[in-house]
Amino acid sequence: MDSEHILTLAADYSLGLLPSEERRRVETHLRRCPACRIAVERERRVALLIREAARVSGPSPGRLAALRPPLPPVRYSPARLSRQLAPVTLLVVFLALGLLFGSARSPFAPALFAATGAPTVTATYTQTPTATLAAAGVINKAASPATTVAAPARPIMPSPGPARPAATPVAAASP
């Protein structure tokens, strides 16, 4: 490989345009040929000059920061919202649990759970005559027909909708 051939390839070599095999042959030659090394350095100098000119043309850090365009608005995604609200949610849950457990112990707190055995009042509607129910021992005839004693005791839960008439008679509870 003579010098003229290398000089022809110097530009392509510096630009990374040679096939790998030819590049290796050039590199082998460059190790032995100072003249060709100088030729390659001359080619590379073009890139260095342009890079240096571009590098110093940049704005100052302050100017660059001032040129930053407005940031996009924050879009709240369900995942992001849930992450942000997680501590609040936990706090609410703990407070609710505290109220629930506390109400069972405190005599002054509203009774959310009725103790077993406490009498409850339920209003029932039935088409069966009261006398018949009394005869069957279901109800106390002397009691108001609108009042019965229900057993077993059930918690008073808020009704989700309009009250429906009971389809079956309510069994009497033993006091």
């Binding site: 530009a11 073009v46 590098r55 043309s57 879009r75």
Partner: protein, 203 residues
């Protein structure tokens, strides 16, 4: 051929790794506004220098910088890392803005200036105040770059400054890799001739 490593083409310490960029982009898309700032700080200088190298006008380069990032922020969810590196995608946006700037400057104008006895402004020439601040060497370099056609100038800047491989240059400019290579040869030959006085072999 296009896999040849670039020998000190770019300042390696300022080029963030692609997985770091992916992490920042992920935080942007999750709504982390600081991540947008970080993305800008990582690439803003690079985009500005690219625009200035192509347009050689400070105001134009600043506008290209702002327009490019405004668009990139808005369309970040559409960036596909499987198709290209983030830097390549950003360069593509900036190149498009630079071309628009160049086109607008050469559109026919019916202002009174056309009747004045003076030559139309060369969009590639540095402004008078900019020239005063430049060294002789820089002036010579920018003049040589400015004398290249826009097509050759784009390839030269993307390679010399951007440090892109020819396949990446092809992606940015939407041209075949071979076309990028041949334009690079032509650009390099022209620049070497015009900068002959500045090219001295290092001892």
């Amino acid at each position: 051929m296009s896999d040849q490593p670039l020998l000190t083409w770019t300042e390696a310490k300022t080029v963030p790794a692609e997985d770091e960029i992916s992490s920042v982009i992920g935080r942007c898309l999750s709504g982390d506004q600081h991540a947008y700032i970080e993305l800008y700080e990582l690439h803003g200088g690079m985009i500005y220098r690219l625009a200035f190298s192509l347009l050689q006008d400070t105001q134009d380069a600043e506008e290209v910088l702002q327009d490019s990032f405004e668009y990139a922020f808005r369309r970040l969810a559409h960036f596909d890392p499987r198709k290209s590196a983030f830097k390549t995608w950003l360069y593509r946006i900036a190149i498009s803005r630079c071309r628009n700037k160049r086109r607008r400057k050469w559109l026919p104008s019916f202002s009174l200036t056309q009747f004045e006895d003076r030559e139309p402004r060369d969009p590639t020439a540095p402004q008078p105040e900019e020239r005063a601040e430049m060294s002789e060497q820089q002036r010579a370099v920018w003049q040589a770059v400015g004398e290249l056609s826009p097509k050759l100038r784009e390839v030269a800047i993307l390679r010399y400054y951007g440090g892109l491989q020819y396949g990446e240059i092809g992606q940015v400019l939407d041209i075949p890799t071979k076309t990028a290579e041949s334009r690079m040869r032509l650009a390099h030959k022209a620049l070497r001739e015009r900068l002959a006085a500045l090219i001295e072999p290092e001892s």
